[in-house]
Subunit: 174 residues, 2 copies
Amino acid sequence: MQYDIAKSLEILERTPSVLTSLLSGIDDEWIMNNEGPDTFSPYDVVGHLLHGEKTDWTARIKRILDHGTSKSFDSFDRFAMYEESKGKTMQQLLNEFENIRKQNMIWFKSLDLQQIDYDKKGLHPKLGEVTLRNLLATWVVHDLTHIAQITRVMAKQYKTEIGPWVEFFRILNF
Amino acid sequence: MQYDIAKSLEILERTPSVLTSLLSGIDDEWIMNNEGPDTFSPYDVVGHLLHGEKTDWTARIKRILDHGTSKSFDSFDRFAMYEESKGKTMQQLLNEFENIRKQNMIWFKSLDLQQIDYDKKGLHPKLGEVTLRNLLATWVVHDLTHIAQITRVMAKQYKTEIGPWVEFFRILNF
């Protein structure tokens, strides 16, 4: 599947409602447990998505448009949410994410990018040269894979309770 | 996390709205592509969930309550949806799934199961003895892991488009 801006916005615009459907009002046991030491709980993942929305995706788009490869992206702190989410409920994180994603979509559309813009290059501090198209596709993939992660983490909470069925669920061993 | 009926219903009851948020009205490229030969597309997965809802979960619950281990479960056809979904749109499948899941939840609550019931045993044709608790926990895990699968399959469609970022997404290689 080739990168297509309309098809990408279809995903980015619906992620807040997917997360809300999945996580709003649910028991803490589903959202505060993780997959073991140094792994994210669903609560952590939503905080991580929120932090990216505030500090990362739009900043990197701007960096490419303003500076090309002459100034590399700032590093993204993948663990910032451990501090930032403190004291917030899941519902607060979901609401904040929904609001800022909506603003970011409005901002993004206002850029009115043309086909030629997607080939513009930026510099990732670890990966080197990337295109704006790569960055925008990664925004989509990042949403989708974190939804996959959340549901996998939730499923794992019942790994023992399913008894003999565990052998049919390869995904629980990831 | 121990099996708890209220916490399980929290998942089972929200799965239709999660699937609708994720898949309703989206471009066919996101829902008709799969992970390669002999794998499911998101469209296939929803058909598979619908088939299970019609033929499998409630029938197996009844079998345990009516026959214990004296009569094993019927086998579940994991590929029945290839025939059953023919000619149906994703929206039709989503609507059917929402309706039948709702009916199944009403039926399930009407059973008014007691703690002692969850230890009742049934006979799985391949796995041997399983408890009603195992079966009910598996219903939840089956929902969650298939949502994980759908979002992983969707993410993989952009595996090439993300360029160098692919190395940060272990999940795309599953």
